[in-house]
Amino acid sequence: MGTLTYFPGCSLKDNAKRFEDAAFFVMEQLGSPLLELEKWTCCGTVYSLTSDDLMHQIAPVRNFVRAQQAGSDEIVALCAMCYNTLARTSQRINADEEERTKINAFMNKEPDYEGSVRVRHLLQVLRDNVGWATLTDKAVRSLEGLKVAAYYGCTLVRPDEVGIDDMEHPVVMADALEAVGAEPVTFPFEAECCGTYQIVDEPHLALEQSGRILRSAVRAGAHAIVTACPLCQHNLEQAVGALSEGGVEGIKNIQVVYFTELLAAALGADEGNLTPAVRDLLAACVPAEGGV
């Protein structure tokens, strides 16, 4: 499979650095290192639904041009929101020659986008290219005994045309975690919205949403709720704080971590490179040093 052309996104260079650091480690261990695009811009953040407003497709398209210049026809994203925005633009602009022509005309003296770059999420790469058996083989630290609530949110699975799995009952993240020995719990809020950027202007709405998701994971007996999105992660962390302060039982013991952090722990990341949350979680595992 070789090297993967990786699109980070702004949050992964900022408050979600550990999401990225762990992903770099995981893919290095699996023999398909992530190679960051030398130049990239904001993904666009939210996919523009306006049919005649091509300006908001420029940011994603510019990243495709840069992948194209790097000799790659595929971008791998980690952040669920970046994945969603990039994947939808890629599908739309790859299929619509007229829109592509308009965008290329606007970009003017710059290189044209040829319309052949596709976008995948790292979880798809793990499932479709690496495979769960390889993940199991490469694991050196067992996560046995660790109960995890794989939380997908919206943008990984909706809308259907870019969803990386079944939009009602996705399994891809749970399968990845199960491959390294963790025990996924069943919880009905796995694909509910976390409240997204309402956390800025209407925090009570986001906390209510995220709180509901958290309580469901706790009821299911999870030690950790596992995410693939810096914004979901942020909202859930905020909700842990708010509900714990509100005296809701069992909430303060649940950890919110990125799926790459747990995979990195399983694939042998140094103790020193693990966050306190992940170290706490490893303590919950059945001691089985030396392999799964």
Partner: protein
């Protein structure tokens, strides 16, 4: 110079015959403009003479420095020597060089849609949009590196559909990066030591005590750049 070759350009819509092979700035002075502002170093470093032009028959605007660009037949031009872009007030030593500091002072950075119009407006050929994107994610080092050649002409800000103040953002990033992540260079320490020990006091006192005519005479005789001697 009766045999001087002339070419026609348009300054703010009015036609002028100006000499071939001179800069826009010289051509404007030839046409009778006298610069009180909008001209500075005349060497492409100060950023005072930002200029926009269009070639005859083209729809696209081009962005240059009047002191650096030669006139061409049929150029339609005007100077944009100043951009009234607001600059954030801050005390460098009191800033926390965290990821969000640029956004706190210049929140409009988040409105960038990567249109790249700023990059196309830059007479210094800086990748302006790329440093704005780096600013968005708080990468001070990259902003500082990419914007190093910025002369603050302001043409990027004049063109931006999102009203970003690129050059002010970049200046803030360079300042933050230099105080937080870069060692103080030896030559700067040496020069600061010289200043503190009064190395240029005599020359400065001489200037302060001169009368206006004396100052004018000294200014007229100043050496701007030492002639390079071929070896």
């Amino acid at each position: 110079m009766a045999d001087e070759k002339l070419t026609q350009i348009y300054i703010m819509g009015k036609a002028y015959d100006v000499p071939v092979g001179v800069t826009i700035m010289d051509a404007m002075e030839y046409a009778g403009y006298r610069f009180i502002r909008g001209a500075g170093c005349r060497s492409g470093f100060c950023g005072a003479c930002g200029t926009v032009y269009r070639r005859e028959g083209e729809y696209r605007l081009e962005f240059v420095l009047a002191c650096q660009e030669m006139v061409e037949e049929g150029m339609h031009l005007t100077q944009l020597p100043f951009t009234p872009a607001p600059r954030s007030d801050y005390t460098l030593s009191e800033l926390d060089p965290s990821e969000n500091v640029l956004l706190q002072h210049y929140p409009e950075v988040a409105r960038c849609v990567s249109c790249n119009t700023c990059t196309k407006a830059c007479p210094q050929e800086i990748e302006v949009m790329d440093y704005v994107q780096a600013a968005l994610r708080g990468d001070l080092e990259r902003v500082a590196e990419l914007s190093f050649d910025c002369i603050s002409c302001g043409l990027c800000a004049m063109r931006c559909p999102a009203d970003i103040k690129h050059y002010h953002v970049a200046q803030m990033a360079r300042r933050l990066h230099s105080v937080s992540d870069s060692p103080i260079p030896e030559h700067l320490k040496t020069r600061m030591g010289e200043l503190e020990s009064g190395a240029f006091r005599v020359e400065l006192d001489e200037l302060v005590s001169m009368d206006l005519d004396g100052l004018k005479a000294k200014y007229a005789k100043r050496v701007i750049e030492k002639e390079e001697v071929a070896t």
